[in-house]
Subunit: 275 residues, 4 copies
């Protein structure tokens, strides 16, 4: 069972929380805490062996915590997700494979593509695929169609697995800090379209990938995970694209694992990640 | 102030310890804990802003901890070290530079070399250098001479900064888990002499370095830090030696920092490292 | 078109080869050469834009090269492979996905498992899966059955994608330097079974994966690619197994790409890899 | 002896060059070539065992190369450098140590600081240190003073080893592609002042360092080498600064080695690096 707490910092929080936990005779598997001194914020993630009534435990924790505390208790961690894609298969396929073998830590409910290219791979795994073209319609219409398809599933998270359309602030606002994107550069470098082209032109010796929550500013949302790999002068733009696919796949997989295990807190457009 | 605790695990330890700390109105800067479930062992490192009387705090902690608990309170962390070298300069020079600019987290008291090559660089930094040749004497005599030179300094740790002689169990026993060595391979691969030669012959695509405490078994002591870098077919043995120097220097520097900041626990020939 | 040459070294080889190539008005896309001075061996890989008659080109190259030269000209590089598996899905699934989207650089002809667990994922991609149990039969019988299934396909390479049985020297001899294995450690550390258990017990701060050609000595064949990732004291054996899967998948994928693109030479139980 | 060639690409260049080399009975230790197809540019670096008359060899090479070819023959590679610093010691100390032990591949002629802090460490190694304050004078005066001190040494390269002043285009123009800077971020992210502060505020999970030639645009010159290391939410700005020092030191050291060994070509604000 996972217990996640965020509140204003004060002396004695760890003592108070761990005292509640030990009175319940709960065995702590892992405990991670962090205090942002500048912001006076306290973050804690507890994993205990036992599964007990979350309502009662939350009540006990509330009684010892500041009134602003947010407490989230996850008895059986398992999330539901919808995946948005365009044409590139690598991130989606990795998610489908982990989903199929029950190692994703979440269930893929459906996949929506603004092109039809990835229907086949989804259907081979029995995953519902919807094609919603962005062509010959306004962005508003396009997003309304997506929204109508997603809503019945009530997913916990939307995963943009190389979805190449920019979602409107209105759409994103429906899923605050619940839309996860993989961007194919080490942000904040090369924001926006064609980062590998820009990387090539700048002559960088690294390329990277960044998984982040989507906010209203393009590629400016809270970063969950990022990684780089070396490149050299011999890499053409297509070479960078290909090399980048490997790292995009692995960074997104790592970010999803962290989010699905309730290891990621968001505040001030940044994340606390208890790896 | 740093507080370090190791004891048998039981429910409520975190609550008990943090309760003692919060009663003293101590602000926790960082708290790290780990439980080895298989061995039923509990480890904790606390860093608090305030400096208070360590004897009184230890007394209070003892009253809430199992009787087997070892408690170590470090009011002003600063270690004293003696460095043993042979001919290679890179690890020693890095230590001397950090020592000179007060960023080592320890004070170099003296350097002992079984060759005289590194006297000059030591003396340029005002560090006492002793030449103790291993030639034309028994290992026992050799080590007795070293021991006689070191003892007056009463160093906390001996650092073997590319010291190419194997110390006897008797010598090592004088400094249990207080002798730190840098080995030029990713242990347990390539134990003993000429690891780069062996790496070359095996055709590995990685070379590495391992910092470890010295025990009675050659290169078998508890590992503190290790790292690898890629190599390829074009690397000759000397190329590997040169590339390896960079990583040896940085792995030893990192291990020393971890040890000097009381972040390393040893048990069962393994380490817990709170990075 | 790819041209691969290996022969005894002598002055003027590059001039002689490149003169043949330029007389044909071939545009060199990339040229890589390496000389092992100790062994007096010359290796070259040339990639040219044009596709011309390989027999004529080979004839011209032979006329300027030492008589011991092996020349391999690959007009349309595309290999055929059979994959052997046990129960773990991660390496196989990665291969199946790349095969399905035509980015593997080879065609998967069939998959053979000594357990039946991975039949489903293969069949979803229309790949023939054969179950050959190793139980209640001799190793010889087991291997004869595998051999009988593989032979009609005449694969260029056998890929052991987490195949947990040790193949006999007689079997391996049928496919000299054509069987590629992924071993779940940074060889030569932790040869044989249960490397993660051994890594855990040794307390290493790294785990790794090694892709290598299979020879008659267990885990002693020529290494193609290897990589490590950091671990710490909090990793249990299952944690290492899980973390290791990511790196096993990516190291095997990289090694296969290198082999399928004719970038790997083998000699003296080592490889030259022109990345 | 190192031979470096850059020219317009055409069929037969490798044959022509290697034919000249083999006629001289020169043993090639290593040969690297690269063609930028988009720009139709050819780059080659040859290392041969023998040292012969460079003027004669250059003459022979010119006779087989396009007229635009630049040929650079380096019989005994050894560069001269002046180092500019401010207050931070880590990059300078690393350079001084390598210089002292003759492993820098260059000779440090003098060090100039706009603060006096690093005089002591220079003088301990017998290196001339000049203090040129930037205070109470115009940038032009400041740079004229530096220039007057440097000119008598006629250095091949100026190394900005954490020199925190921006040099004017006029100054830089005196040393075209001969001023090497280390910037404490993974460019093009966090150009200009306080990159660690910006990295902290953006909440990145990586920090980095970039060594580049200085051009007229701030932090926009051709990149020679760059690297990143992971950080997490617990890193304060000073923590990032400290962690960054390690990587700044090693990236600058690597870049200098590459430049001093004539492995770096510059064109189109990018570099070709034959590592």
């Amino acid at each position: 069972m996972i217990i996640v707490i965020q509140c204003a910092d004060q002396v004695g929080l760890v003592a108070a929380i761990s005292s509640v936990v030990s009175k319940q005779q709960l065995n702590i598997i892992s405990m991670r805490e962090y205090v942002d001194k500048a912001e006076n914020l306290f973050f804690m993630r507890l994993e205990v062996e036992e599964i007990i009534d979350p309502i009662q435990l939350e009540h006990q924790l509330k009684s010892v915590l500041p009134t602003d505390a947010t407490i989230h208790i996850n008895p059986i961690p398992h999330k539901k997700i919808a995946v948005l894609v365009t044409k590139e298969y690598h991130c989606l396929a990795d998610i489908l494979i982990r989903n199929f073998f029950n190692t994703l830590g979440a269930t893929v409910q459906c996949v929506i593509g603004n092109h039809d290219d990835l229907r086949d791979v989804c259907e081979r795994f029995g995953i519902q695929f919807y094609h919603v073209s962005h062509e010959e319609k306004s962005k508003d219409e396009f997003e309304k169609q997506i929204e109508a398809l997603i809503q019945p599933y009530a997913p916990d998270y939307l995963v943009l697995a190389k979805f190449m359309r920019i979602l409107s602030p209105a759409f994103v606002a429906e899923y605050p800090m619940r839309v996860i994107n993989i961007h194919h550069s080490f942000l904040p470098a090369f924001i926006g379209a064609n980062p590998y082209r820009k990387a090539y032109e700048r002559g960088v010796k690294l390329i990277g990938a960044t998984a982040h929550f989507v906010s209203n500013e393009l590629d400016e949302g809270p970063i969950i995970a990022q990684q780089t790999i070396p490149v050299n002068h011999s890499f053409t733009v297509p070479d960078m694209v290909n090399a980048g696919k490997e790292i995009e796949t692995s960074v997104l997989a790592r970010a999803l694992k962290l989010v699905f295990e309730d290891r990621v807190f968001v505040y001030n457009n940044k994340t606390v990640v208890f790896e």
